[in-house]
Assembly symmetry: C2
Homo-oligomer: 738 residues x 2
C-alpha cells in the first residue's frame, strides 16, 4: 500500500502552500480568495487541504487538456520565433501536443508558468513571497518517489552516468539542473587523467614538480574549452539552443518610466542603462568591503595561529593553537553571509529587467566573496608567510596579548630574531591537504548528513510537542485530524515535502568551481589533490542526488543552455592558475622551498617565470580554442542539416528551389531565337559597319543603339569570333602565312 501511495501523486500537477500570518488574518483570507479565483481563471482546477498549523495546501491540476495544449503550443511558437526550435509548429495545438509529447519537466515548467507568469504573458501572476502574494510560501511540484528510488540505487551502483541518465535527469527536473549534472559528470571523468598523472608525479617527482604544473595547466585549458563545446552539444541534444534569448521578465523590475515604443506602439518599461551602470559602480566599494572585512579577519586569525603555533611555547599550546581556527569557522560564514545579503540588496538596487541578468550579476558578486573566503589563507601561506615570515614574525609580539593569560613568563611569548626563526616547511602542504581532503569531507557532511539529522530532529520535536499539547488537553487538534483516511498517507507526505527547503543548484555549481580553483591554483603543492577530488566528486554527485530527491522540495524546472557565469569563473581561475603555479614552482621546486628569508628569492626570476607561464598559457588557450572550435561533431552536423532542410523547404514553398528557373520562367528567352541567327551567314568587318549605320538611323537613344547591334547571343558569338580573327595573335599569324 505504502509503495502504491508513494507512486500515485493523485494527478497533482503543482502544490501551492499558503501561509496564514498571525497578524492580519482577514487580509490573508481575502488574498486567498483572489488566489483561488486567479488560478481558476488561468484554467487550473484546485483542491484545498490543511497544511501545517497555520498554512493551507492548494493542489493544482490542469482543468482542461485543451487549454494546456494551447499554452504549450504558444510557447512552442515562441521558441520557434526565437530560434530555439528549427521547425515551425503547425496544425492545431492538440495534435501538435500529441506529435511531441511533453516530459515531466516540460509539463511542470508550463504549469509553473501558468501559475507565476504575469497576466500579459498568460499566467495567473502569482509571485511567491513577493508583493501582494507574500503569503504564498511555496509553489512546487511533487517528488516522483519511484524515479528518485531508481536514481539513488542506480547511480550508487555505477561509476559514470551515461548520456541517457543525464537525459532522464533533464526530463525530470529540467535543463538547468541537467546542466549541473552534465558538468559534474564531465569534470569527474576529466579528473581521471590529472588524478593518475598527479599520483605518478607524487611518487616519482614529489611536490612542486614543474612537469606536473605544466600538465595541470594544460589540462585546465583543455577541460574548460572542452566543456564549452560540450555545453553547445547538450544544448542541441536537449533542444535549448539560444534559449537564453527568451528572457523571462523580472517581476521585481522597477522601470523609471513607461515609454511607448515608436515602432511597435507597445508600452515599454524603460530604465536608463547609464543609470544602471552608475549603480553598478557600487560593486567596487562592495568588493573592497569584502576584501577588508574578510581579509582582516582571516589575516589576524592567521597571524595569531602562526604566533601560537610557532612562537608561543607555554602551556595549553596544543589547545590554544585551535582557537584561531575556531574563530575563523565561526566568523567567516557569518561575515560572508552578511556580505551576501548586502550583495543581494545591491543587485536588487541595480534593478535588472530580466531574471537572467539579475542572477548573472548576483553570481559574480558571490564569486568574489567566495574567492576571498576560500583562497586568502593559502595565498597568505604561499606568498606572505613562506617568503617573508622571518621578517614579519618579530612584529607578531603584539599578539602576545592573546596568550598572556596562559603564559607563565615572557620568554614563552618572545618572538625570535629573524635570523633565529625558521619557517615550518610543511605548513603549506598540510594546508593544501586540509583543503583537498578534510574540507571536502566536512563539506559533504554539512551538505547531506546534517540536514537529514536536523529534519529528523525537528520532526521528533514537533511530535513530542503535539503529544504534550494533547496530554495537557490543548485545544489545537493535529493538522491531519480531518484528512480523509485514504488521503492521510499522501497528505502527510505532501506536508513533509512542503516543509523541505528549495534545492539551489547554484550553490552546488559554486562548490565545484571553487574546487576547480584549488586544482588550478594550488594543486602543484600536493599532486595528490586531483586524486582526492576524483573520489570526492563521485560521492558528491550521489550526495547531490540524495539532496535533490530526499532533502529538498522538487525544484521548478528551468531551461538553460549553459552553466552560465560560472563558466567565466572557471576560465578566470584557470588563467590565474597559470600565474600562481609558476610562482609556486619557482619558489619551492628544488629542495624543500625557501627558508622564509626573501633574499633567497630573486624577484626578477619570479616575475620572469610568471610572465612566460602566463603568456604561454594564453597562447595555448587560443590554439586549443580554435582547434576545438574547428572540430565538427555529429550533433552539430545534424543540427546544420536540419537548418538546411528548413530553409530548403521554405525556398521550395516559395517555388525558388531550382536554380536555373529564371531562364524557363522568362517568356522571350534569348535562347529561343537560335533560328534568327541564320540571317547572319557571314559577318565581316564591312557588314559590321553596315548594320552599325543601319541601326544608328532607327533609334535616337545611344544606349538603345548600343544594345541593338547584336540582337541575339548567337550574333554576339559570331561578332566575337570575327573580332578574334582581326586580332594578331599566334593563330591569326599562322593563317596569314597561308
Amino acid at each position: 500500500m505504502a509503495s502504491k501511495v508513494l507512486q500515485s501523486n493523485y494527478d497533482v500537477d503543482y502544490v501551492i502552500s499558503y501561509r496564514i500570518p498571525e497578524d492580519d488574518k482577514e487580509a490573508a483570507i481575502a488574498q486567498f480568495k483572489k488566489l483561488v479565483r486567479a488560478l481558476a481563471e488561468t484554467g487550473l482546477t484546485t483542491e484545498v487541504r490543511r497544511g501545517d498549523e497555520t498554512s493551507l495546501l492548494l493542489f493544482v491540476k490542469i482543468s482542461d487538456e485543451r487549454i494546456f495544449a494551447q499554452v504549450v503550443y504558444r510557447s512552442r511558437i515562441k521558441d520557434w520565433l526565437y530560434g530555439v526550435r528549427q521547425i515551425q509548429p503547425r496544425g492545431d495545438p492538440a495534435e501538435a501536443l500529441g506529435a511531441e509529447p511533453l516530459t515531466d519537466a516540460e509539463r511542470h515548467r508550463h504549469v509553473h508558468h501558468m501559475i507565476c507568469f504575469s497576466r500579459e504573458e498568460g499566467g495567473a501572476g502569482i509571485t511567491p513571497n513577493h508583493g501582494e502574494w507574500k503569503n504564498v510560501e511555496a509553489v512546487f511540484p511533487l517528488q516522483d518517489h519511484v524515479k528518485n528510488k531508481k536514481w539513488l540505487t542506480e547511480f550508487s551502483s555505477k561509476t559514470f552516468l551515461n548520456p541517457e541518465d543525464l537525459d532522464d535527469i533533464r526530463d525530470t527536473v529540467g535543463e538547468k539542473i541537467g546542466y549541473y549534472y552534465a558538468f559534474l559528470q564531465t569534470y569527474f571523468s576529466f579528473l581521471i587523467f590529472p588524478a593518475a598523472f598527479g599520483f605518478s608525479c607524487w611518487v616519482l617527482l614529489g611536490n612542486f614538480s614543474a612537469v606536473y604544473a605544466v600538465v595541470n595547466g594544460l589540462w585546465c585549458v583543455v577541460f574548460v574549452e572542452y566543456w564549452k563545446r560540450q555545453e553547445q552539444e547538450l544544448a542541441i541534444r536537449w533542444g535549448v539552443k539560444n534559449v537564453s534569448a527568451i528572457e523571462a521578465k523580472r517581476r521585481e523590475f522597477e522601470p523609471e518610466r513607461v515609454a511607448t515604443d515608436p515602432v511597435t506602439g507597445e508600452k515599454v518599461a524603460y530604465f536608463p542603462a547609464k543609470k544602471r551602470i552608475l549603480r553598478q559602480l557600487l560593486q567596487i566599494p562592495l568588493a573592497l568591503l569584502c576584501v577588508v572585512a574578510l581579509g582582516t579577519v582571516i589575516c589576524t586569525c592567521y597571524a595569531i595561529e602562526i604566533f601560537i603555533s610557532e612562537v608561543y611555547n607555554g602551556p595549553l599550546k596544543s589547545i590554544l593553537v585551535f582557537t584561531p581556527t575556531i574563530i575563523l569557522t565561526l566568523a567567516v560564514p557569518a561575515i560572508s553571509n552578511y556580505l551576501t545579503q548586502f550583495a543581494e540588496k545591491l543587485t536588487f538596487y541595480e534593478n535588472y529587467e530580466t531574471q537572467e541578468a539579475h542572477d548573472r550579476a548576483m553570481i559574480s558578486k558571490v564569486f568574489v566573496i567566495n574567492f576571498i573566503t576560500s583562497y586568502t589563507a593559502i595565498f597568505l601561506t604561499s606568498f606572505v608567510y613562506v617568503p617573508f615570515a622571518s621578517l614579519l614574525v618579530p612584529y607578531l609580539d603584539v599578539l602576545s596579548l592573546t596568550v598572556k593569560p596562559f603564559a607563565e613568563n615572557e620568554k614563552q611569548m618572545q618572538t625570535p630574531s629573524p635570523a633565529a626563526f625558521s619557517i615550518n616547511p610543511n605548513r603549506l602542504r598540510n594546508q593544501m591537504i586540509y583543503f583537498a581532503v578534510t574540507a571536502q569531507v566536512v563539506n559533504f557532511a554539512m551538505e547531506t548528513v546534517v540536514p537529514v539529522l536536523t529534519q529528523k530532529g525537528t520532526k521528533k520535536y514537533k511530535e513530542m510537542q503535539s503529544s504534550r499539547a494533547e496530554k495537557s488537553g490543548g485545544t489545537a487538534p493535529s493538522v491531519s485530524a480531518n484528512d480523509p483516511p485514504e488521503e492521510k498517507e499522501f497528505l502527510t507526505r505532501v506536508r513533509e515535502e512542503a516543509a523541505l527547503p528549495e534545492y539551489d543548484v547554484t550553490s552546488d555549481l559554486r562548490e565545484m568551481c571553487i574546487q576547480f580553483g584549488y586544482l588550478a591554483l594550488f594543486s602543484v603543492i600536493w599532486p595528490l589533490t586531483p586524486v582526492s577530488y576524483f573520489f570526492n566528486n563521485w560521492l558528491e554527485l550521489r550526495g547531490d542526488t540524495f539532496k535533490l530527491t530526499v532533502e529538498c522540495r522538487r525544484p521548478n524546472p528551468v531551461r538553460a543552455d549553459s552553466i552560465g557565469p560560472w563558466l567565466d569563473s572557471l576560465e578566470f581561475l584557470a588563467w590565474l592558475g597559470s600565474i600562481t603555479t609558476a610562482a609556486l614552482v619557482y619558489m619551492f621546486s628544488g629542495g624543500n622551498g625557501p627558508d622564509g628569508k626573501p633574499h633567497t628569492i630573486k624577484l626578477w626570476a619570479l616575475l620572469l617565470s610568471v610572465f612566460f607561464s602566463e603568456h604561454i598559457f594564453l597562447v595555448v588557450r587560443v590554439l586549443v580554442r580554435s582547434a576545438i572550435s574547428k572540430l565538427d561533431s555529429a550533433a552539430m552536423r545534424k543540427e546544420r542539416s536540419e537548418r538546411f532542410m528548413v530553409r530548403r523547404k521554405f525556398l521550395e514553398e516559395a517555388g525558388l528551389a531550382d536554380a536555373i528557373k529564371p531562364l524557363t520562367a522568362s517568356p522571350n528567352s534569348p535562347l529561343q531565337d537560335e533560328s534568327g541567327s541564320q540571317a547572319f551567314a557571314s559577318i565581316t568587318k564591312e557588314t559590321l559597319e553596315d548594320d552599325a549605320r543601319r541601326d544608328s538611323l532607327s533609334s535616337s537613344d545611344p544606349a538603345d543603339r548600343f544594345w541593338r547591334r547584336q540582337r541575339t547571343w548567337t550574333e554576339t558569338e559570331k561578332v566575337g569570333l570575327t573580332l578574334i580573327e582581326l586580332m594578331d595573335v599566334g593563330g591569326a599569324k599562322s593563317k596569314k602565312q597561308q
Copy 2:
C-alpha cells in the same frame, strides 16, 4: 558632349574582359562560345566589342527585369531565412522589387552573382582566372563618373564624412568598402583626442611621459571597443546583420569525398576537420620562416647601419650610412612578397570551404608578416640597442668588412670599448619620427601618385608604339579602328577601365591597422605621433577615394558585417601596447633614457611595471567592454522593436496573441458554474467528512475521488476558509474569546 558620354554607361550592368592567349587560340574561341551561351542561359543580354590588342570586351545587361526580380527575390528570401532581414518578403517578386528598390551596389552584386555563382546557385558559373575560365581576365561594373567627381570634390572640401556620405559609399560600392570608410572615419575622429593630448604632453611633459602612456592605452581600449559597437550599429543600419552567416562556397574548395547527408539526402562535399588542422599546423614553420628570413635581413642591415653610423668614421660615411637602408627598402618588400605568395599557397592547401574562412586564414598570415616587417626595427632599437648597445657594439667589428674598401686605416673601423662607447640617445625618437611622418608620406606617394604616373607613362608608351607601328606600315590597325564613331569615346573609356587594377580594400585596412599598431606600441616615444597620423588620415581617406574611383576598376560589391579579422589584430596590438609602453616608460622616463649599459636597468622593476600595466589594461578592458555593451542605442532599440513586431505578428496569425485566451477558449470554463456553488450553503467540519464518504463510494480511482471533493473553485474557496477558521492563529483566538 564629353560629359554626356561620361554620364551614360549605355545601361551596361557588367563588363567581362576576355583574353585571347597567344598559344591556343582555338580553345579560347570554343570557350568564348561557351561563355556567351552560359550568360545567355542565365538571363543576360550580351554585346561584344574589341578590347585591347588581344582581348574582347563582353558587355552584359539583364535581359529581362522579371528574371532579375526573381533572382533578387530569391536572395531576399535567403536573407530572411538566415536572419539577415527581419521581415519575410511576400507577394510576387516583381512588386517586392518595386517595394524595396535596389541600390547600385545591390544590383551589381546580384548581376555579379548571376555571372559568377555556380549553376546550382543559379549563376552562369564563370570563375575569372580560374579553371576552364582562366581566359576570363576580369568581371567588373563600370565606374559611375558623375558620382566619382561628386565624391572627390565633396570629400576634399569637408573634414568629416557624415553618415549619409558613408551610406552613399555603401550604396555605390557595397558594404565591405563601406565598412572600411566607416572605420577610417571613426579612427580619424577618435584621433582628435590623442592628437590634442599628445601635443600638450609633448609641450609640457616631453617624451616618454607616463601620463601620456596611461591615457594612450586607455584610448586604445575605448577606441577598439567603441568600434566593435559601431560595427554592430552599422550592420543594423545597413541591414547586413548576420550576413556572414550566409557563407559563399569557395569554388576552389576540393572535398576529400562527397558524402550524402543522412538527414537531408543532399550530396555534401566533405573535408575532415582533423586533416585541415594538421595542415594548419604548417603555419608554425611558416611563421618561424618569416621570423628568420625577415629577422636576419633586418637585423644585419640594422647592425651594419649602427656600425657605420656610430663606429666607422672614415670617408664617405655620410653616403655609406644610407646603404643598409637602401638594401632594406629593396630586400624587405621582395622577401615579404615571396613570403606572402608562400602564405597564399599554404592557405589554398588548407582548403577552406567558404571564401570567408579562406580570407580569414590568409589575413592572419599577412598580419604576421606585416607585423615583423613593420615593427622589428623599432623593437631592436628600444629593447636591444638601447639597453645592450655597449655590450654588443664591440662584436660588430666583423662588419668592418663592409666598409673595408672605403676605410683608410684600421682605426676608422675600430669598435670602441664598452666603457668608451655611448649610445645615440636620439636614435629611437628619430626612428619613431620616421615611421610617424616620413614613412606615411612615402607610403601615400607610392599608393596614389606613383600609379597615376605609371599609367600615364604606359599610355604614352603604347601610343608611341602604335604610331611607330603605323609608320613602319605595321599590319595591326588600332584596336579602336572599327568602333562605331558614336561609341568611340565610351569604348576608349571602358578599355582604360579594363586595363586598371582591382581595388583591394584589405591592403588599405592593413595599412590602418599597422598604423594603429605604431600608435599603441610606440607613440609614447614621441607624443606628436597621433598629430601626424591625424593629418595623414585626412589625406589617406581622400587618397583612397581617388584610388577607388580613378586608379582602379570599380570593385564588385561585397556584403560584410564587420572589418573582419583586422578587429582581432587591433585588439592584439592594443594589448601588446600595454606591455611595450610600460617597458619604454620605465626604461626612458626621467632623464634621456639609459646609456646602453644594461646594469642601469633593474629587470625586476621592468618586469613588475610590465606585469602591472598589462593586468590593469586587461581589467580596464573588461570594464569598458561591459559598460559599452550595456549602453543601448536608438538603432538597437529599433531593431529589437522590429523583431518584436515580427514575433507578435506571427503570434497573432497563430491566433495566440491575447494572453488570457485559454479561459475564453475552454468550453467548460470553471468560472461558469458560479451558480452551482449555491448548493453548498455552509460547509462545516462534519459536512466535509460527509461528502468525503459520499464521494468515496462513487468512484474507485483514488485520484478521481481526490479531485472530486471540491467540484468548483468556489467550493475550494469555501473549504479553504473553513480550514482557516479551524486554524489557531491570532484571528481565531480572538473569536474564541467571545
